[in-house]
């Protein structure tokens, strides 16, 4: 098959997986998913000669970098809106008073959000994209041992955050409290 045919096959096979990857990191801003995914495949098209035999982790790596640009742009726009103070989107996620209104797993997201972007990404790739260490390494552009080390560290840090939140619960709140409205970030 030519590079173009290989690319087209990868596009058809992985379009939705890449869309899910992006959607998971845009924190509900689903309207932007399609735009970012289009950018991912445009970059992948330019680099189609580099497309590996198992392209999905590589495509995640491309998506990660595209998201980096998208999130930066979003951050700037939001800060501008914050200053203007006229748009609801400027306020981001709000503190939720009632635990019942929390979406499922919200407190786990909060624990995750307290970690560094690199820690967050290695954990998300492992659990949400269900990648093995070798695939995580491809997505992150590092060696597999380095990826294993990052995962090891990130797990330890997430465990510490989870334990800390549980401690808060045990101390009297009904559910781990979200005290830092925060945009979910890519790695």
């Amino acid at each position: 098959m030519s590079n173009d045919e290989i690319f087209a096959a990868a596009y058809r096979e992985h379009y939705w997986a890449v869309s899910r990857y992006v959607a998971r990191r845009l924190d509900g801003r689903t309207s932007e998913v399609e735009e970012v995914v289009a950018e991912v495949f445009t970059v992948a098209w330019r680099r189609r000669s580099d497309l590996p035999a198992s392209p999905l982790p590589w495509l995640y790596g491309v998506a990660r970098n595209c998201l980096s640009n998208a999130v930066r742009g979003y951050g700037r726009r939001r800060r501008l809106l914050d200053r203007l103070g006229h748009d609801e989107t400027a306020h981001g996620r709000q503190i939720v008073d009632s635990p019942d209104s929390e979406p499922p797993g919200a407190w786990v997201h909060d624990a995750l959000a307290r970690l560094s972007p690199v820690d967050q990404e290695v954990l998300r790739l492992t659990t949400w994209e269900e990648l093995g260490i070798d695939e995580v390494a491809v997505a992150l552009g590092c060696g597999s041992r380095a990826a294993a080390m990052r995962l090891h560290r990130a797990r330890r840090r997430l465990r510490a955050e989870v334990d800390r939140m549980r401690t808060t619960v045990a101390a009297g709140t009904e559910t781990p409290r979200r005290d830092t409205p925060k945009e979910q970030r890519h790695g």
Partner: protein
């Protein structure tokens, strides 16, 4: 109770079967975009990069100094300064060489560990210099504004690679990034360990550690002109308050960085920029105003430079900043395990990562 990975798995906001993004045929827009790509005029290829989709390197660097030869010359940069190496015991060097060799010839079940570098030794008898005092010195040293800020980096690093079924290994690399006037840049990464000049060295560029010659080029890439106004690509400011905000943005954080996050951000900064005197002074002031860093004394780093050491004790790991006692420049950052973790073959005292930055 489920472990942390299971908790996170359950909190997947967009599961595989999610209504909008479930697997299946492409929708109309996706088909149209594919068709546009396949019939676009763009048949060219972008320059090759190891990091997919990235126009600038993001990987932490480690590298080796060109030593004796070619690295700087290849990049037409200046040679790194005097660098006698910290000579670790010859016995250790022999162990590294022998065990590394064994790594190549033995099966996975008999693979011995390659000795991890030992942590830097702090001169406990020295009177520690406070970070506040060091920041004052740095401000004085920056009075004439020289040397200046320069984009690009030169860093030697040692990093431990781990896996759950093999012993950890330590990989030593030197990386030089040079930017040119037209905003293009070159990155050179070689495998080298200044502690063991001329000896074969472990590299894992293809995923599995193997011995390569000292100075083996892991990658050499030239990137086309690129520009960004966002940290860490944009120039760092030279006052502490703005530098703190800069580092926060470089880490994509909406909230003030914790001390360990700040130390990570310092590594990112120094992997992109060779700071000038004013930026060094700003960074020293920022660190002086950061909680949890305590002075512990004098050290001599792995490039045989004298420095003052400042330690942050975190969960499972200890971070140590090594700073120039006169200019306040950050010379290095060491991360050491503080507890055994048999699952990963990690022992308390193992150096997990060490970076030494040079001009």
């Amino acid at each position: 109770m489920a472990d942390e990975l299971e908790l996170l798995r359950r909190a997947n906001p967009v599961p595989s079967g999610a209504p909008h993004f479930g697997d299946g045929p492409l929708d109309q827009n996706a088909e149209r975009r594919l068709d546009q790509l396949l019939h676009s005029e763009d048949r060219g290829q972008s320059p090759h990069s190891e990091n997919p989709g990235r126009s600038v390197p993001s990987r932490r660097l480690t590298g080796r100094r060109p030593g004796r030869t070619s690295l700087s010359r290849l990049l037409q940069g200046r040679r790194p300064g005097r660098r006698t190496r910290l000579v670790w015991a010859l016995a250790t060097a022999a162990v590294v060489a022998v065990t590394a060799l064994a790594l190549l010839v033995a099966g996975p079940n008999t693979t011995p560990a390659v000795a991890a570098p030992r942590p830097l030794v702090v001169r406990a008898d020295a009177t520690p210099v406070s970070l506040d005092r060091l920041a004052e010195r740095a401000a004085q040293a920056a009075a004439d504004g020289s040397p200046g800020l320069r984009k690009g980096t030169h860093v030697q690093s040692w990093s431990m690679g781990m896996s759950q079924d093999k012993p950890p290994v330590t990989l030593a690399e030197e990386r030089i990034v040079r930017w040119k006037a037209d905003d293009s840049h070159t990155e050179l990464v070689v495998a080298t360990d200044p502690r063991h000049p001329g000896r074969p060295i472990l590299s894992d560029e293809d995923g599995d550690p193997r011995l390569v010659d000292d100075g083996h080029v892991i990658s050499k890439q030239t990137f086309p002109p690129s520009w960004s106004d966002a940290p860490p690509e944009s120039p760092p400011p030279h006052d502490a308050t703005r530098l703190r905000a800069y580092l926060q943005e470089a880490q994509y954080s909406d909230t003030p960085l914790t001390t360990p996050q700040l130390l990570d951000a310092v590594g990112v900064l120094l992997d992109h920029w060779t700071l000038g005197a004013r930026e060094h002074a700003a960074l020293a002031r920022l660190l002086a105003d950061t909680e949890g860093l305590r002075p512990v004394g004098r050290v001599t780093d792995r490039l045989d430079r004298r420095g003052q050491a400042y330690v942050y004790d975190g969960s499972g790991a200890r971070r140590m900043l090594i700073m120039d006692p006169v200019t306040g420049a950050v010379l290095g950052l060491e991360s050491t395990a503080t507890a055994d973790e048999p699952e990963w073959g990690l022992k308390a005292g193992d150096v997990m990562e060490y970076s030494a930055w040079m001009r």
